[in-house]
Amino acid sequence: MAKTKGYLVDTTKCIGCRGCVVACKQWNQLPAEQTRFKGTYQTVPDLTGNTLTIISFHEYEEEGQIQWYFAKRQCMHCLDPACLKVCPQKAISITDTGAVVRDNDKCVGCQYCAAACPFHIPRYNRETDKETKCSLCTERTAEGELPACVKACITGALQYGDRDELLALAKKRVSDIIGKYPKANVYGETQAGGTNILYVLADEPSKYGFEENPKVGTVIHAWQDIIKPYFPWLIALTGAVSVFSFFSTRFLGVGKEAHEGESLDG
């Protein structure tokens, strides 16, 4: 497999400061959004058409103590992206470093990608009538710069690099902490066919709001792989039957007998 790049999110090092969220907004020049206090420390509730990354907060009471789980959320930059497959405008492509990017000029805001993404990432922006998602800061990395969020991270929880190296690093990290966190695991190695964004999780993915085994929905598959390629031929078939009937009825002469000589000009 070609060498691809991404970053590693080591959730055990994340302190939930949200520096990455602000950096992303700043770099992408996205407006801040009014939010309401909902009794959680997670100030930004969800990704939106103007918010490409968030830190999701998950609070649990374990052994009488409050436990926090933080996980950065953004496009996972799948190795085999479903969003790319369904986009009717071919607006989504993979760069030579493996980032999954969306061409703003080609995008028509149909939101097909949003329905197909196994991680529920792309969001619609009503003002621009386009879909939005993280680009892995392609414009920055092409210049040798780090993605804005990675650069902003003060604890070293975000690390940019080659996927193979990050994967090795993540596995090593998991083996280091497995004593303290027996359920520690690497997320993104195999999920949805593998992603360029990798995570070290200290506990089961579900505790972080991740799906254990995210998949592209069956209906999306049926739509893309069965209905779209094969069903339109049924129209051609009805056309062919009509043409056949046009000739066979005239050839067999039933038109005259059974219909008392009526025809178009009758």
């Binding site: 028509v108 949003a114 009509s242 046009f246 039933v254 005259k256 178009l264």
Partner: protein
Amino acid sequence: MVEEKRVVKTTLGARLTHWSHTICWFTLLFTGLVMFSGWFEWLKPVFGGANGANFLHRLFAVIFGAVPLFGLLYKPESFFGWMKEAARWGSNEIKFMMMFPFDLIGLKVNMPPQDRVNAGQKFNSFFFPTVCFFIGVSGVIMWFAESFPLWLVSIAYPVHDLCWILGTMQLMFHAYLGSLHPGSGESFWAMFGDGTVRASWAKHHHTNWYNETYGEDE
């Protein structure tokens, strides 16, 4: 030639709806194909790019939905009358449907007497509105995708595609049977013209209806 007696088969309202639907269906079909498959790339410039096509698709979708809704509110009895007419199924209808494939390829069959609309047309009277209903509902969901749950949106896409394909299949048959199929000329010109057909034709093709409406005798 002596002018033959003519009888009214389709009303003005029915004819207007028919043609507004035809125009809408084809505009929706071609503007939609741009989003459906790369094979129709070449169509994009015709509609002013993908955005132009999407705009037209939505505009005609509104007309396509508004016309029958208006009709339903304005003259509900005409819609329910139609449905009642189409719901009249008996052995003649079933026989017609079973013999139809033979008639289609040109074998000689003796069709049982039919009402104003024959069994095939009755079938379509349910089939086509059902298809349109699902196209409309899935279309609204796709249009306002961000306001609906994702699972529903992902179902809307295949439903929309499946229904326009079924609808277009039906339309192809309908267009052929209503024009170039032997014996359809009369109905064809009725749809294009003033809605009347020759009495003898009506008696032959839609015997029951003719007898009920215009009496057994000439």
